[in-house]
């Protein structure tokens, strides 16, 4: 496998960048996605690329990996100009890519996935045998242990990502591109990933890390390039820059990274959950015996690795999942089943998955903006839907939540992630509910919009509302919450006041290693 790449190694000019892009320009119709972008990545370094959604990071990497062809510009690998017309060319040039959404076949084993596309010979056996040996070597060299015969679908996300990295290395990649690699990882897994990346660097590999998480840039990279609006706006040595500077470069103005909020002034209890249990469609227990409350004027955060019951808890509270046991009290009154009734009584819900659940993507914005409130008399005239009233109302909400463009007739799917999320929040918050359930409020949302959303949530808290926040971003949980609950295996594994919560303490609870984790582990095994 490695012999194939040898010529490249020998022709490497001393001091030439591992990857050099010169004047890359790319248009998609009216969209100018890359504007005269230049980038040089030194060999044996970890190079970060940051930018907001739509800044052109992914387009640039897709050009480098051969998914798109640039309209203008050169690509040089180790000092030589190369033509990259497809991903085969990229692989041949020693470039490997780990996509944000893994390109793995769930029902195949690790070995089968690794040799996919490089089977070698018409009989599988020879290829698998060679792959097995090679995998062992790679595992030793880079601390990339993965059980070779495990079905990929059975592996946790962190290990699946390792399989992706192994796939790239198996094909002889010297330059590894990772696109938002930590989006689905828990903190410990992310740390392990960064150790692997440093190991790769030590072995002379070049790593390009695309992310919007500035903290990761600071922790893992040697150098960082910032993109904005299709342009490369700055290159910095990581050691010589700060998170604040990078954020400002990304957004083009000063950004508040820390959520600004005063101390909470908790009032009466607005939401109480008593011994709530939830089962999924197949009858498996997802939430068991969970009790907590949220008071007026406070934000309670629920941390946890995805799939530990937070999602089901949120949906059960919203009335989308029937509770298998326990009670839910809204302002002291027990709520009956049925989501819409809860909505009428002042419970608003921003679902975790806005694209699937919070919005109807093929609908116009104004149609998405009345979802759940379509029976409101304000939107009715002579028994019919009063679209003029809906339009006016939607436009007002869009302006108040800075949804761009503020066009109520634009198709929902055409808005960016941040603007879609602001539309959902506008719909739910402008109703002035007592209790707001909010799941992953800033997933896939730009820094500028994150700041805006966080400010609105804090303002809502200060107006005396109760907010229950579920998020997989520890920064967000720690920045917004007044109290933090950690869920593991369907139970609350621990509760911390925000001022005493550290990333390490939360991480341990999230991994089921905190105090009281024994019970949670047992619960997990039982289900």
């Amino acid at each position: 496998m490695r012999d194939r790449e040898e010529p490249l190694e020998t022709t490497r000019e001393a001091g030439a960048p591992a990857v050099e892009l010169r004047g890359i320009d790319k248009r998609f119709g009216a969209v100018h996605a890359s504007r005269d972008v230049s980038l040089a990545v030194a060999p044996g370094t970890i190079h970060g690329i940051v930018g907001e959604n739509g800044a052109g990071k992914s387009t640039l990497m897709s050009i480098l990996y051969g998914f798109y062809r640039a309209d203008r510009g050169d690509i040089r690998i180790a000092g030589r100009t190369v033509e990259i017309a497809g991903s085969e060319d990229a692989i041949a040039a020693g470039i490997g890519m780990v996509h944000q959404h893994f390109m793995l076949v769930d029902t195949f084993t690790v070995v089968e996935n690794v040799i996919l596309g490089a089977e070698g010979g018409s009989l599988l056996a020879s290829g698998t045998a060679r792959a097995r040996g090679e995998l062992e070597r790679l595992a030793r060299e880079y601390a990339l242990e993965v059980p070779p015969d495990a079905r990929v679908g059975d592996l946790p996300v962190g290990l699946q990502q390792r399989v992706e990295i192994l796939k790239a290395l198996y094909r002889g990649a010297d330059i590894l591109i990772l696109d938002e690699p930590t989006g689905t990882l828990m903190p410990q897994e992310a740390d392990h990933l960064f150790r692997i990346l440093r190991r790769l660097r030590a072995q002379g590999k070049t790593v390009i890390l695309i992310t919007h998480k500035l903290r990761e840039i600071m922790a893992a990279t040697d150098r960082v390039s910032v993109m904005r609006g299709g342009r490369m706006v700055a290159h910095r040595d990581t050691a010589a820059t700060t998170v604040a500077e990078l954020a400002e470069l990304m957004v083009g103005r000063r950004v508040l990274l820390q959520v600004e909020k005063g101390p909470a002034r908790p009032g009466p209890e607005l939401l109480a959950v008593e011994r709530l249990s939830v089962r999924d469609e197949r009858g498996a227990s997802r939430v068991r015996d969970v009790s907590f409350n949220v008071r007026a004027g406070e934000i309670v955060g629920i941390a946890g690795v995805a799939g530990n019951g937070q999602g089901e808890l949120l949906e059960a509270l919203a009335g989308l999942h029937p509770a298998a046991g326990g009670r839910i009290l809204l302002a002291g009154e027990p709520v009956s089943s049925g989501g819409p009734h809860r909505r009428r009584r002042g419970l608003a819900h921003v679902p975790e998955d806005r694209r699937r659940m919070g919005l109807v993507l093929p609908f116009e914005a104004r149609e998405s903006a009345i979802l759940g409130y379509h029976d409101d008399v304000r939107y009715r005239r002579a028994g019919l839907l009063d679209w003029d009233a809906v339009s006016r109302d939607t436009e007002a909400k869009m302006i108040s939540f800075d949804v761009r463009p503020a066009d109520p007739r634009r198709i929902t799917a055409a808005f960016s992630g941040g603007n879609q999320q602001k539309l959902v929040l506008a719909r739910e918050i402008e109703r002035d509910p007592l209790v707001l359930l909010v799941g992953q409020p800033t997933r896939g949302v730009d820094i500028g919009a994150i700041e805006f959303i966080h400010r609105r949530l804090v303002a809502m808290r200060d107006a005396g509302k109760a907010i229950l926040l579920v998020s997989s971003e520890l920064d967000e949980i720690m920045g917004l919450s007044d109290r933090i609950l950690v869920m593991f295996g369907g139970v609350v594994a621990g509760e911390l006041p925000a001022d005493r919560a550290t990333e390490r303490a939360l991480g341990l609870l999230m991994a089921g290693a905190g105090p009281g984790a024994g019970a949670a582990n047992e619960a997990r095994r039982a289900s």
Partner: protein, 370 residues
């Protein structure tokens, strides 16, 4: 209008999707049809001339074209309503057939009612029976996940068998071998349009075009209002576009599936008003004659919008009527040939709906880029 299309035609402006693509599809169908006509040694230009003349060239022809169009409007609307709820109702044929049974039962057994009452009663009978025939597949889809495409196809066969049994064994005239019911009483028939117009002093040539054409237009307006301007239509479209979002919004997708199929079946059932109550004046075997299936192509071509469906129905009506004229004038172009041309239109407008999307996209991109 800032709306853009989603799906395979995503990103194209609305005028291109609604106007340009159907026209391109139609031209492609006619081009291939023309080739076939050339292959059998006839002039395609003459064929087009005769076809258009046969469909629109004289008053009687226009009457026939609109008569056929009426049936297409009903079955096209039926498919469109289900489609807005994400359902592919292939069962228009069976629903129309059973709708005819409901309508005939009213006309045969409630004919003591005066004309002013028997007409609405017949409409209700047709709609109710059509809806009932759609209910079982709808319920199975909503609550058991049985795919509505499969079940409605099966229900077409069941409908056909039931009607043969009823017409042969139960409803045929005493002493007759014909598998058809007795004639409806004269006041249990829909007036023909030329009679109605003559009554108000407008003289047009006789054709089978009858009052159900106006009912088809009323239904079109009703569907437009229902789908886009009522809360019920909003619920139906939401359930069709995204079941999880519907549940989140307090809308029950199973309930919407049943409602959509009932409305769809009722519309299909109304097709029988045109054919039986308007023209045949008795219940006969296989009066649906494929109109239920053609409704799928009509709805696709009309983009699920009533205005589009009316236009597509007139086109299909013209193909039927003009095609009949064509096979009469040019014996070498047989009736089957005309069916083949209709099939090509269905193929290009329906199955190959998005074939020209890349071309249109490229042309538009070049225009806006340069």
């Amino acid at each position: 209008m800032s709306a853009v299309a989603t799906g395979p035609a995503a990103g194209l402006p609305r005028w291109a999707v609604v106007g340009l693509l159907p026209v391109l599809n139609l031209l492609a169908a006619f081009a291939v049809s023309g080739l076939i006509v050339v292959l059998i040694g006839e002039s395609p230009w003459d064929a087009v001339r005769i076809l258009v003349w046969g469909a629109f060239g004289f008053e009687e022809a226009i009457g026939y074209t609109l008569f056929y169009a009426t049936s297409f409007i009903f079955t096209g609307l039926a498919v469109a309503v289900a489609f807005h709820c994400g359902l592919f109702n292939i069962g228009g044929e069976g629903q129309a057939y059973i709708g005819g049974l409901g309508m005939a039962l009213v006309c045969l057994h409630l004919d003591f009612l005066p004309f002013a009452l028997i007409v609405p009663a017949a409409v209700i009978g047709a709609a109710l029976f059509g809806a009932a025939w759609a209910f079982v597949p709808a319920w199975l889809q909503a609550h058991r996940g049985s795919h509505v495409v499969i079940t409605t196809i099966m229900f077409n066969f069941i409908a056909a068998s039931v009607m043969v049994y009823l017409l042969v064994n139960v409803m045929s005239r005493p002493g007759s071998m014909e598998p058809e019911s007795r004639d409806f009483a004269p006041h249990a028939r829909l007036p023909l349009m030329h009679d109605v117009l003559a009554a108000v002093g407008i003289d047009v040539a006789a054709s089978p075009l009858n009052l159900s054409f106006l009912w088809a237009l009323v239904c079109s307006a009703g569907v437009w209002l229902y789908i886009w301007h009522t809360r019920a239509g909003y619920r139906l479209r939401t359930a069709g576009a995204s079941p999880p979002a519907a549940r989140y919004g307090g809308i029950s997708p199973p309930r919407e599936i049943v409602v959509a199929m009932l409305v769809s079946g009722a519309l299909a059932g109304c097709m029988s008003l045109n054919e039986l109550m308007g023209v045949q004046h008795r219940l006969v075997l296989e009066f649906t004659a494929g109109f239920g299936f053609a409704g799928i192509a009509v709805a696709l071509m009309g983009r699920g919008h009533p205005v589009g469906i009316i236009l597509a129905s007139v086109l299909f009506g013209a193909l039927y009527q003009g095609g009949a004229e064509l096979s009469f004038e040019v014996p070498r172009i047989t009736r089957d040939m005309v069916v083949a041309i209709q099939g090509l239109v269905i193929l290009f407008a329906g199955a190959l709906e998005f074939m020209f999307v890349p071309v249109v996209r490229a042309v538009l991109a070049r225009r806006s880029g340069g």
